[in-house]
Amino acid sequence: MSYLIPKRLFLFVLLIPLSFVTLSAFASIDVYSFKDPSQELRFAQLTEELRCPKCQNNNLADSNSPLAKDLKDIIYEKMLAGETDEEITHYLKQRYGDFVSYKPPVKPFTWLIWYGPFILLLLGAFGVYRYMGGRKISLSAQNKSAISNSSQSLIDQWDSEKGDPEQPNSSSVQQKKQENDEESPSQESNS
């Protein structure tokens, strides 16, 4: 039994830092108390979507600046007064501009951010389509010439096996082969 006590003590010491973690994690939420959980969720979503004007890469929920605290107080008050998310966002935008929202409105000035990625996607898809299409054409052209070359060699082989001394067709075959060679690179450059 005597060894149990130090073990318990050891566990207790291990648990101390854990208690600090949970305390600090809940400290920032506990400031605002809500009657129903849906309102609390709305508050959490809204403060995450709104940006702190002072510490510009933080949202209101994450920011500890005094201004962010004031703005959170205002949002809390307005929420309890029954204002909608749109009304609250509008209130802040009137004072700090579109800047305060991480969701920029769709207007000509912001078209590039809203539609830019889709334009890039379309351009990319078009590029891939062109690239793949081109490859298919050049591949089939290569196959064609490969097939005709092999058939040519078969004809040649057959001719030589036959051992015809005059070889009446050989000159025309040579010509055809040259034509094929000329055709294939032009097809490739077309693609």
Binding site: P53, K54, Q56, P66, L67, D70, L71, I74, K93, Q94, R95, Y96, G97, F99, S189
Partner: protein
């Protein structure tokens, strides 16, 4: 010919993209991304009712503000406010423009100490302890200085320290422009 021009286009495309991107990024150089444009340009100053620093029982409202004037947002907690204070003292001595002080999120005792030690350049000092008037003005830090016209409409907002250069190049031209427009209308 078709193929050649197509090739040329393909080769020039990265160059064009590079030049475009360079211009875009170059235009951003030297700009302070933390400086926000005021949303209240052209609007009247917000309605308020606050106490005065020297007379805690007295109340000052937006109707007591007489433009054209400057409204300077300051606090004893703000290091840059100490920095710009001597220039406001100088401006006050010249008596060129009415200057209202907005003591933003400060303690009365600290604010009084600040003024007693460094002097008072302000015609009136409005106390905004909870910072709500500041938020109505779109203030996101101190110091900030607003230029208002004869109708109490906000003409310009300067974020940061006011010095001789800022006064001459940014604030004064806006004030005189407003008074000139007024005299032209009459």
């Amino acid at each position: 010919m078709m193929i050649q021009s197509k090739r040329l286009f393909l080769y020039l495309l990265p160059l064009a993209l590079f030049v475009g991107l360079t211009l875009l990024l170059y235009s951003g150089l030297g700009k302070d991304p933390t400086e926000l444009d005021s949303q209240l340009i052209g609007q009247k100053i917000p309605v308020f009712s606050k106490s005065l620093l020297f007379k805690p029982d007295a109340i000052i409202t937006d109707k007591d503000i007489k433009g054209p004037a400057l409204i300077n947002i300051w606090g004893s907690w703000c290091p840059a406010c100490y920095h710009e204070h001597p220039y406001f003292m100088e401006l006050a001595k010249q008596k060129v423009v009415a200057i209202y002080g907005l003591n933003y999120k400060d303690g009365r005792a600290e604010a009084l100490k600040f003024i007693q030690k460094l002097g008072n350049p302000y015609d009136q000092i409005i106390v905004d302890k909870n910072g709500r008037l500041g938020i109505d003005l779109g203030v996101y830090g101190a110091p900030e200085t607003f230029v208002i016209n004869h109708e109490n409409r906000i003409v310009y907002r300067h974020v940061g320290v006011v010095n001789a250069q800022v006064w001459e190049t940014l604030l004064k031209p806006r004030l005189t422009q407003q008074t000139k427009q007024l005299s032209d209308r009459e």
